[in-house]
């Protein structure tokens, strides 16, 4: 029996009880994670928690389980919540909005609308052809990958509420300002002409209409599987690198070269981040390990944002609808925003 059939065969009570049990098991595993590895690696195997091997190996296993659990829980919850939102509805909300208010709304909707980068091009055409201003569309396209639910979840799990709020606030600000600037620059001539010539036909189908709770739960379970299957190699490489840095990198190595004392650290972090094709889940273990080694939060957030917001594959996709000049402006404006956020946070909060 498939997941869908099993879910359909359930009564509503059994469905909610099942979800409650799953939530309790999740919390229990999350709480047991550290004691389990402390006991197994330190007590049973006798590894030294202060030694290189001990701290590296402990970091690897503990973080793999922690990140795995966080991803499963948060992707499920976010997918179920997002099943109430759709790109079609977002476009309807943005249609006819002026710039300014439109940029703010687009940035916010970019965060909550379910969306993946492989749909960036059809969504772009759909928005522009429906009369959403170019700058407002850009605010949506920037905030959607930049303020990433996986990144929010992991930041919250690792660094607490402060850096998470900073990240979301900074991401929204960059999306709003960058979209507004791109809109003011009147860059419509650098959009491939076919976008404006496209006539929207057919009737819109809003895939979120008529979904039952069982459908939404099933979508949540499917999405967890899809994302984990896609990102696990990045995740393991990221955690492995994080573990290596954790165990073997000399205490002051990174702080000396990329710490608060180096005025170019943020620039270098962004320059390294842009071509680095990964995603929030793969990059976060690195961020955690580097933070432990004394790198300031602003530099790390800038690095992470460069990785998730300006990915080469997405830029190549966008080339189908945008001319190189506009892509260059896009990278420039978003890049400047990310660098500014990095320096600002370093100045305000330091390490």
């Amino acid at each position: 029996m498939s997941v869908a059939e099993r879910l359909r065969a359930r009564t509503p009570t059994r469905r909610w009880v099942g979800l409650a049990v799953a939530a309790i098991v999740w919390f229990a595993l999350y709480e047991l994670n550290r004691p389990l590895w402390d006991w197994l690696l330190l007590d049973v195997l006798g590894l030294d928690p202060a030694g290189r091997l001990g701290s590296g190996v402990h970091f690897f296993f503990y973080d793999t389980v922690k990140i795995g659990l966080l991803l499963v829980g948060i992707i499920f919850v976010v997918t179920v919540l997002r099943s109430f939102m759709s790109v079609e509805r977002t476009r309807a909300l943005l249609g006819g909005r002026r710039e300014g208010v439109g940029n703010v709304m687009a940035a916010g909707l970019g965060v909550v609308t379910p969306f993946c980068s492989c749909s960036a091009v059809p969504a772009f055409i759909g928005f522009v052809a429906a009369g959403v201003p170019l700058g407002v569309t850009m605010s949506f396209l920037i905030s959607s990958p930049l303020v990433n639910e996986v990144a929010i979840a992991l930041l919250f799990g690792m660094f607490g509420i402060g850096p998470t709020v900073m990240y979301v606030g900074a991401g929204l600000t960059i999306a709003i300002v960058a979209g507004f600037v791109l809109g003011r620059l009147r860059l419509e001539r650098w959009v491939e002409p076919f976008v404006f010539e496209t006539r929207l036909g057919g009737q819109l189908i809003d895939s979120t209409l008529g979904l039952s709770w069982d459908d939404r739960i099933q979508m949540g379970i499917e999405e967890v599987g899809v994302i984990l299957r896609k990102i696990w190699p990045y995740l393991l490489v990221g955690i492995g690198l994080g573990a290596a840095i954790h165990g073997w990198a000399p205490e002051d190595f990174f702080a000396a070269y990329a710490g608060a004392g180096n005025p170019f650290a943020v620039l270098i972090a962004v320059a390294i981040g842009i071509p680095l094709y990964s995603n929030a889940a793969g990059i976060m273990p690195l961020v955690e390990a580097l933070h432990d080694k004394g790198l300031p939060m602003g530099t790390l957030l800038a690095f992470m944002m460069a990785v998730v917001a300006l990915s080469l594959p997405e830029l190549i996709l966008l080339r189908r609808v945008l001319k190189p000049q506009l892509i260059a402006f896009f990278v420039g404006v978003v890049g400047v925003g990310i660098i500014a956020v990095g320096y600002l946070f370093n100045a305000v909060i330091g390490v």
Binding site: F115, C118, A123, I125, F194, R199, L200, L204, R320, V321
Partner: protein, 80 residues
């Protein structure tokens, strides 16, 4: 019956074509399956999330990869 699978060629689009072919084979119907990769054509159907499935010029699904069983359900009204 004329079926179109809309998508630029990402993994999801390949999966949608596969489950659609499975569903058509399982139902034993005579269907012409075509892939549409042109962005202007995709957007012309009003589709903003790929992959999408079009049956006899009507969009019946967009934004996710269904199971073969779900595709059978979607195709049933068109088998007449």
């Amino acid at each position: 019956m004329k079926i179109k699978v809309l998508g630029p060629g990402c993994a999801n689009c390949v999966n949608l074509e596969r489950v659609t072919r499975e569903a058509v084979a399982a139902m034993g119907i005579d269907a012409d399956i075509e892939k549409v990769t042109d962005y202007a054509a995709i957007a012309g159907y009003g589709v903003m999330r790929t992959p999408a499935l079009v049956v006899d010029e009507k969009v019946v699904l967009s934004g996710r990869v269904p199971t073969a069983g779900h595709v059978r359900e979607l195709l049933t009204p068109y088998v007449a």
